[in-house]
């Protein structure tokens, strides 16, 4: 771990109610990603890697421990400020793409900006936002699919739309949870190439969660989770 970490979790623990008792998923995990870093978190199913990603993405709160962003503790902030940080500083990509089915590709990419702005603000920034979203979709080879609904896109295309949506807010860090898990080999490779390029060319910090060691090797650093603890880093 480095002192100039962008996103850091310190001794976080997380338990879930399971059946009649409590299942401790994370048992005191320390992890950090530095600016421009590319870390892969690997582990078997149930090792707690997705839970760790959700805690870093402020989708969940740890039972104990701390989450810091740029040196500021963020896990204990009021809900509205955590919502704001999720919208502005953290981008997330999921295995199941999680696109909104009622919106087309362009609108899905614009969704985080629409969440950020009120109607009046949106009228003001709409043109520049659309320009930026179009640019991102062009960059990922979806310039001709702007007005297609998610059901009209392939898995690889949907994941690229999801990456464009995560990047449209210019986040500090991108958290990717098994981004190639639902894709065929070729599409998965394309997504990994895109992530590597984002890290290399744009200097975007990326945390990639996967259970596949071959994919994890594309990252600069690999952290292995086992039984809720960091096995080696």
């Amino acid at each position: 771990m480095t002192d100039d970490a962008m996103l850091r979790v310190r001794d976080v623990r997380k338990s879930y109610r399971s059946g009649g008792g409590m299942l401790e998923v994370l048992r005191g995990v320390d992890f950090a990603i530095e600016p421009g870093g590319f870390a892969a978190v690997i582990g078997q199913s149930g090792s707690g890697k997705s839970t760790l990603l959700h805690l870093m993405g402020l989708l969940d709160a740890p039972d104990s421990g701390e989450v810091h962003l740029d040196g500021v503790r963020i896990d204990n902030l009021p809900a509205t400020r955590r919502d704001r940080l999720r919208n502005t500083a953290i981008g997330m990509v999921f295995q199941s793409y999680h696109l909104l089915p009622e919106l087309n590709a362009l609108e899905n990419v614009l969704a985080p900006l629409m969440v950020r702005h009120s109607v009046m603000e949106w009228m003001r920034v709409r043109a520049s936002a659309r320009e930026r979203a179009r640019g991102l979709l062009d960059r990922f080879g979806l310039g001709g699919r702007l007005h297609h609904k998610p059901r009209q896109l392939s898995g690889g295309e949907m994941q690229r739309v999801a990456i464009a949506r995560a990047l449209v807010t210019e986040p500090s860090v991108l958290l990717a949870d098994e981004p190639t898990g639902n894709l065929d080999e070729a599409s998965g490779a394309g997504i990994l190439d895109a992530l590597c390029e984002l890290n290399r060319r744009d200097g975007l910090s990326i945390v990639l969660v996967t259970h596949d060691a071959a994919i994890a090797r594309r990252a600069a650093r690999i952290v292995r989770l086992a039984a809720g603890r960091v096995a080696d880093a």
């Binding site: 999720r86 009622e102 969440v115 109607v119």
Partner: protein, 552 residues
């Protein structure tokens, strides 16, 4: 911004939401139509009642009435200030009306009301409810020489559409009277000379009547018609006190032909009366009015005198017109007669001074005058032990309250329809929240807060309410404005009469759209739609983002 976009998309893509729109729409449309029709009926009824009754009624507690209406009217003018537009005295007593139909006597209980024909139309719409055009212009208690309306003059656009609705009125007036007298004369002759009749060749009855009429007219005996053979009863209002005293000795003298003369009913009439049309007719299922008696027929009326104890006196009167206010309570109860004649018959003139008594004074106020304020002023000015002062609303208080209560209860019941629609929205929204759980998780992962998520569903409820209420408003107004055409269409399709004029005495369904009521209905419907979406919205807002994202 995303809330608006998603509300709009959900409205366009979730067809089940149209069920909510349809239920709100039907509820709003039903309420608008029912309120418009109820308001139309209530307005029609109130305007009828107000048209019959004057603004204020100043009356005596006693049937014998109070003396000197002229002095009372001056005092009323003084007490009420400049708010009085017109006044007229009346005398009203309970009475029994009897007439013969096919040889059988029919007797009915009535309210016998003496009115001043020259001033009564100043305080109410009395004149407009009569059946002869001349009487509508200026009432006269003399029999007219025909030209009575053969259709309902108050039913717009009905005249001549499907033929006359009152064909019997074509011969009413002097022609009917002469015909009846001729028949009776012929009948009496036949009865008197029964033995000789067998020798005469039999002729049809109509030919015999024509022969009698021809013989009458050949003698140059023109019926007096509007020339008033009995002398206009209104003249008696200007009688000298001495004449009034003389009339008191023989109360029927002034209304009969000259003393000692034998009255010829083919040329002369008794004191004219105007009974309510409901007393003399009934409407058949085809909307045609059938008459038991007509203007020109004579009837007997028995009523109490003004003395103590009152004695029952009877006299014969001639029907000169009918009164039709469309309020069956009045049309089958009221009989109007010249006030002076009734005062004489009841002995309501002071034997010494000739000053008459009356039961009540009907008062019309100037437009804009506050009825209750003037009523209270008069109540202060006159002792309550002797006089009652009431507004037309006071007089019909229980009826008007019952109508108001009926409308309120109906509105509550109808509003329950929209409330049921609200429960529909609640159930459908819960379903949509479950269906959209993953979307809610996605939005939360993009930074949407719980308030924003709740806002989507509240906004969705608002959209549904507005669209449903908007379409319901258009539908409700369209039905209201075309309700009579729709009624005709339904009657044509089903062959059943939906709106029977013989029950309602209206030829059209009256409607009034009150913008204030419509605004309340729309606000209520939209409010219920939003209220029904609160619980689903809260449930959506409370969803945990991680659990929502994992929702399958």
């Amino acid at each position: 911004m995303y809330k608006l976009l998603l509300c709009w998309r959900y409205l366009r893509t979730r067809w089940i939401a149209l069920v909510c729109v349809a239920s709100v729409m039907l509820g709003v449309a039903t309420m608008i139509v029912v309120n418009a029709v109820m308001a139309g009926f209530a307005h029609e009824m109130q305007s009828r009642i107000h048209g019959i009754l004057s603004d204020l009624v100043f009356e005596s507690h006693s049937l014998s009435g109070f003396q000197d209406p002229k002095w009372h009217m001056e005092e009323i003018t003084r007490a009420a200030g400049g708010d009085i537009e017109g006044m007229t005295p009346t005398v009203a007593v309970p009475a029994m009306l009897s007439f013969q139909v096919r040889g059988q006597w029919l007797t009915r209980q009535v309210m016998f009301i003496g009115i001043d024909e020259s001033t009564h139309s100043l305080v109410s719409d009395f004149g407009s409810y009569l059946q002869h055009p001349e009487n509508r212009r200026q009432l006269s208690f003399t029999l007219r020489d025909g030209d009575y309306d053969t259709f309902d003059s108050q039913a717009e656009g009905q005249a001549g559409e499907n033929g006359p609705t009152r064909p019997a009125m074509a011969g009413a007036g002097w022609p009917h009277r002469r015909m009846r007298v001729a028949r009776e004369k012929l009948w009496r002759e036949k009865m008197g000379a029964r033995g000789d009749a067998a020798a005469e060749p039999a002729r049809p009855i109509d030919q015999q009547v024509d022969a009698v009429l021809a013989a009458t007219n050949a003698n140059g005996e023109q019926p007096a018609a509007t020339d008033d053979p009995a002398g206009p009863p209104s003249d008696s209002t200007s009688d000298s006190p001495q004449a009034a005293v003389a009339a008191r000795r023989d109360p029927f003298r002034a209304v009969r032909p000259e003393e000692g003369d034998t009255m010829d009913p083919a040329k002369e009439q008794f004191t004219g009366i105007v009974p309510g049309i409901g007393l003399a007719s009934f409407r058949d299922s085809d909307g045609v009015d059938r008459f038991l008696v007509l203007p020109g027929d004579d009837v007997k009326i028995t009523f109490p005198t003004a003395g103590t104890p009152p004695k029952a006196v009877s006299d014969t009167f001639t029907i000169i017109d009918f009164y039709e206010s469309k309020m069956s309570e009045y049309d089958s109860n009221f009989v109007f007669v010249p006030i002076a004649a009734l005062q004489r018959m009841r002995g309501m003139f002071d034997p010494q001074t000739g000053i008459p008594s009356v039961n009540s004074i009907q008062i019309r106020l100037k437009p804009g005058a506050d009825l209750n304020v003037v009523r209270d002023r008069l109540r202060k000015a006159f002792p309550a032990e002797m006089y009652a002062v009431s507004t037309w609303r006071d007089k019909q208080g229980p009826l008007l309250s019952a109508v108001d209560m009926e409308m309120a209860v109906l509105n509550i019941l109808l509003f329950l329809i929209i409330a049921v629609a609200g429960f529909g929205i609640l159930a459908i929204f819960f379903m949509i929240v479950v269906e959209k759980t993953r979307d809610i998780g996605i939005l939360k992962s993009l930074g949407a807060g719980s308030a924003g998520i709740a806002g989507i569903f509240l906004g969705y409820g608002l959209f549904l309410g507005l669209v449903g209420a908007g379409v319901g408003l258009a539908l409700g107004l369209a039905i209201t404005w075309n309700i009579n055409a729709i009624r005709t269409g339904v009657e044509w399709c089903t062959g059943q009469r939906v709106f029977d004029p013989s029950i309602y005495y209206f030829f059209k369904i009256p409607t009034i759209v009150d913008p204030f009521t419509v605004a309340w209905i729309i606000a209520g419907a939209v409010g219920i739609a939003v209220a029904a979406s609160v619980l689903p919205a809260l449930r959506a807002a409370r969803l945990h983002p991680v659990e929502a994202l994992r929702h399958d």
